[in-house]
């Protein structure tokens, strides 16, 4: 398993993935510096900045870009017979799938950390003097990451299934756009997997909860959809003709 991971990383780092990872802090800076609302709220000035940044980031950017990452990690396998070469090596398909997934999740985590840096920079550029709300920022960064577990699993599945970039991206768009409405609904929002990055990065949520959402929601919605998509993709990959 360790060897497959090393090999996957070796192939990936030579693809232009780093440019895509770095769109994350850039989007963070853009959102933080342009979407300035007049601060009429009482309390910590970081909150408002954080709130406005996280909305667009978690609602649209994070779910969509993770799909792009998943497509890139499969691109070079689709291109010139990579799958058949890889799977004729002494490896199991299961391990290859898990390795790709694990690597993707590390990349998303790294992206979240870069976004964290962007948040800090936005405050620094704006000259915030209030104390940095470390516990809240930390929660939203890690929460957003955890919320992408099921989304990445589905996108990896779709990216293995389709050769083109456009097809898995279309699937991603179809599920991501309704999130904008879903988060307005108290009835449906909590059950919609694509709304979870927003829910878990929403600093306005209940601070008492781990990651701003109740444990039950985390386990059932995020955990449940993760299992569904991960097992679905895993099973599909076992059968995929190469």
């Amino acid at each position: 398993m360790r060897y497959i991971l090393q090999s996957e990383w070796y192939k990936l780092r030579k693809s232009k993935i780093i440019f895509i990872i770095f769109t994350s802090p850039l989007v963070g800076l853009f959102l933080g510096l342009t979407t300035q609302l007049v601060n009429e709220m009482e309390g910590n000035e970081w909150y408002l900045s954080l709130f406005t940044m996280n909305v667009t980031y978690a609602l649209l950017f994070l779910p969509l870009i993770t799909g792009v990452l998943a497509s890139i990690i499969c691109r070079y396998e689709h291109q010139e017979g990579g799958w058949k070469q890889l799977l004729a090596l002494p490896v199991t398909r299961g391990k290859v799938f898990v390795a790709k997934y694990v690597l993707l999740m590390f990349l998303v985590l790294f992206m979240q950390l870069l976004y964290f840096v962007a948040i800090y920079l936005v405050g620094w550029i704006n000259g915030f003097t209030d104390p940095f709300p470390m516990d809240i920022v930390w929660k939203s960064i890690l929460g957003g990451w955890v919320a992408t577990f099921p989304l990445v699993a589905l996108q990896l599945w779709m990216s293995i299934l389709f050769k083109s970039f456009a097809a898995p991206f279309t699937v991603n768009v179809i599920f991501t756009l309704p999130t904008i409405l879903a988060v307005n609904s108290e009835k449906f929002g909590p059950y919609y997997p694509w709304a979870q990055p927003f829910a878990m990065m929403n600093v306005g949520g209940n601070v008492g909860d781990v990651f701003f959402i109740p444990w039950e929601q985390l386990l059932t919605v995020v955990g449940g959809s993760f299992l569904l998509f991960f097992i679905g993709g895993y099973m599909y990959f076992q059968r995929k003709p190469v």
Binding site: Y10, K14, E80, G81, Q85, A88, L89, P90
Partner: protein, 301 residues
Amino acid sequence: MEYVIKTEGLTKKFGKETAVDRLDMKIRKGEIYGFLGPNGAGKSTTIRMLLGLMKPDSGMVRVFNKDLKKERIHILKRVGSLVENPSYYPHLTAYENLEALRKILRVSEARIHEVLEIVRLSDVAHKKVKGFSLGMKQRLGIAVSMLHQPELLILDEPTNGLDPSGIIEIRNLIQRLPEEYGMTILISSHLLSEIDQIATTVGVISKGKMIFQDSIHAMRKHSRQTIILKVNDGKRAEHILQGKGIYANYQDSMLLLSKLSDQKVAEIVRMLVQNGLAIYRVEEKQSSLEDIFLQMTREEA
């Protein structure tokens, strides 16, 4: 008898079409096994099943006397392969392509240089593969297949798209392997001429069925000799022979006679001379392996 590869009743269907039909393949250690058949006969499908890339609908595959279904990983550690068109990662250099696979196969780094040397790609080791010619990609594919010093090498149409000198080069390379490294080799082709000089055993597949499997010498015995007679009046000669119950075929001013003993030939010549015909030439023609191969696959079709 111990076989390196042994399949029994191997069958694969795509919808209604049977791509591989109850195939029994037997390859002994140290052989260079030529797997022959026209395009679309089921060669690549068979090879994919040998590597576990595809699952057979029925039948079984044993490699190194182990069941492929149960011990795939163990088996693949000792097998190198090149399936159809060469596979590669276009965004990586030749060296990096090998390095990515080496990380899984756990062989020494020096081995990369060795295999690049063997296929003579050392000079371009640090160039991206997407700029390679087809022949270079094919050679890289062979380098990949030999990276972990496998005991069994499975090469699917390795000379596809190569120029004549490239074909000869690869042929020489493959020929060396069994002696020098004790490898067993399965090499597929749709042209017998490409492998008749190196294969020790051949298997001929047509429409998914194995229609011949034996040593290359046995295949040569299938060849029919033909006696060719050139005479001044072929029509009359044909008539005379037919009157004696000897079947002859007159075409292109030649008289063709098949499978005759030396005595019989002498008798025929005497007969024709006595009838006042002038005999210009008596020749023996051996049909080539290619003819036999074509004849075999045609008969089946």
